[in-house]
């Protein structure tokens, strides 16, 4: 079985792709519109710089070759939601081609191309069988990512989409609500001929549509029938796909260059656009580069990619075991407070460096980190920490069996953690409690 996807992602710009209309939720239909996105005669498109920036970022994320020069094309088709009856899209000079994206960091999924285009408006039916159109969505920028048919199962397709969406969110700061705005066209073939299920919204529906389509195609083939190459739609309520009359054939679009926008030297432009490493790529790289447990790497990255970056700095400044110990304990415990304060990481690095050089003890280092990261005075930190440490010490004294258990199973510490959290009623963050308890046990063992 072969599955290929065409994924449409709405790009989180503040204004539309070719006009300045806002992209936020509109108070009513046709209120975020202007002559350009309504296709009024005499209006003209002007490209939003940020659309190119996001397009280049995604092309880089997908390891695509970025074109030196790119331009737009006109795809002509007639439907009430497309105000100009022409969609400005990219045809033979897309922004990126020939990429590869690693599923779970391992299985390569080839990316055919990524191109930029405008979203049409939205239609709805009325009782008297005419239509009503809202053009607020008309001109919202989209990136379309096309994969080769490298996905093996509907579950794998969903896994791919989930990972892709996570990475896209991270790369271009797509808001959480952006997930519903991911739409895909799913191509699937069980035998020789493929079907395309158009315009499926959301990750779960993509898997449902593909699963239904897989089962349907297998049934047809088993019964000795043959699969017609066709376009199908997915009914979300009933969970079935059905054949739709294709509105037009690819050959009818009659693509020509879009002369109103000119050309764009994106190759040069792209040199100055850096992207953040995706969380998955960072996890895999940390595990490999520093020979650390993948779970530990994942823990760092999951807390914050900035924390993971700090770990790398600490590893440079001291050594890997020291960096790992401190960045996954005290530093993690106080990360939230630290991040809120927006202060440099230098203070953290200094403390761990002093410890590494033998100038301060574990306890002193813990105190210094807490004080620096939370902004509490050293004395207050020491007092609070002393209180916490006293409480932990007392409990461990009273329950010596815990230490013995801990030798066999690290989870035995949970008993202490649970007790302390209940006792202190939220005056310490759970991360802090965990770090202190683990520290205390480590000292005693």
């Amino acid at each position: 079985m072969k599955i290929g996807l065409e994924v449409h992602v709405q790009l989180p710009t503040k204004s539309k792709m070719f006009c300045s209309c806002p992209t936020t939720d509109a108070p009513a239909p046709n209120t975020h519109v202007c002559p350009t996105c309504l296709g009024m005669p005499g209006s003209r498109p002007v490209l939003n710089r940020q659309v190119l920036v996001y397009g280049i970022m995604l092309a880089k994320m997908l390891n695509c070759t970025i074109a030196d020069t790119t331009w737009f094309s006109r795809k002509t088709y007639f439907y009430p939601d497309m105000s100009k009856s022409v969609q400005i899209t990219q045809y033979d000079h897309p922004i990126g081609i020939k990429g590869v994206y690693y599923l779970n960091g391992r299985k390569p999924i080839r990316i055919t191309r990524i191109h930029l285009e405008e979203d049409p408006g939205k239609t709805k039916r009325t009782a008297d069988m005419s239509s009503l159109v809202d053009y607020n969505r008309s001109g919202i920028p989209l990136a379309e990512i096309v994969t080769e048919p490298d996905l093996a199962t509907p579950a794998e397709a969903r896994e791919f989409l989930t990972q892709l969406v996570t990475d896209i969110k991270h790369t271009i700061d797509l808001p959480e609500s952006g997930e519903r705005s991911i739409r895909c066209d799913c191509n699937i073939s069980v035998g020789k001929e493929r079907c395309e299920v158009k315009n499926v919204t959301g990750l779960k529906n993509a898997e449902r549509a593909l699963t239904y389509e897989m089962v349907r195609q297998v049934k047809v083939l088993k019964a000795g029938g043959k699969i017609d190459r066709e376009t199908r739609a997915f009914d979300e309520t009933r969970g079935v796909t059905y054949s739709v009359r294709k509105k037009e054939m690819e050959s009818d679009y009659g693509y020509i260059d879009e002369p109103d926008l000119g050309i764009f030297h994106v190759g040069k432009f792209a040199e100055n656009i850096k992207i953040k490493e995706s969380p998955l790529n960072m996890t895999l790289r940390l595990a490999k580069q520093y020979s650390i447990d993948e779970a530990k790497a994942k823990q760092l990255v999951a807390t914050s990619t900035d924390l993971a970056a700090l770990f790398e700095e600490l590893a440079q400044a001291t050594d890997i075991p020291t960096a790992l110990t401190w960045s996954t304990s005290t530093v993690t415990a106080n990360w939230k407070a630290f991040a809120a304060r927006q202060i440099p990481t230098a203070g953290i690095i200094d403390a761990v460096k002093k410890l590494h050089a033998g100038k301060i003890t574990d306890t002193e280092c813990t105190l210094e980190l807490k004080s620096y990261m939370t902004g509490q005075s050293a004395a207050a930190t020491q007092a609070a920490s002393a209180d916490l440490d006293t409480l932990i010490g007392k409990y461990l004294d009273e329950h010596p069996e815990i230490l013995a258990d801990c030798k066999k199973n690290v989870r035995a510490a949970n008993r202490v953690i649970g007790y302390i959290i209940t006792q202190t009623g939220g005056s310490y963050s759970s991360a802090e409690v965990v770090a202190s308890v683990n520290g205390a046990i480590r000292k005693r063992l």
């Binding site: 300045s20 069988m129 005419s130 260059d257 050309i263």
Partner: protein, 100 residues
């Protein structure tokens, strides 16, 4: 993107009929004949292009128009009421034909 089934050399009625359908124009038989003849004459005249040399440049515009971009700043110049004043609407939706 399969190759079209139509032949690329002559301008017969079938092609004109297909083109008209794509362009959303309905032609009578007489019109089909007339436009087929006109287009055949015009395309005959275009044959000279086959001899023209090729060129490798980028030809979107006759002068170079490059890297013209707008900042991502939302702004509305026209009110919705003004834009919709001459349109057929229902509760601020714009009316259109049946969807299938």
């Amino acid at each position: 993107m399969g190759a079209p089934v139509v032949r690329a050399t002559s301008m017969d009625r079938d092609i004109v009929a297909k083109v008209a359908k794509t362009a959303h124009l309905t032609l009578t038989d007489a019109e089909l004949d007339r436009y087929s003849r006109d287009l055949r004459e015009i395309l005959d005249y275009f044959r000279v292009l086959d001899e023209a040399p090729n060129h490798t440049g980028v030809g979107v515009n006759p002068v170079e128009i490059a890297d013209v971009l707008r900042d991502d700043v939302p702004r509305q110049e026209f009110s919705s009421e003004d834009l919709l004043k001459d349109m057929k609407t229902y509760k601020n939706y714009i009316r259109g034909p049946k969807l299938s």
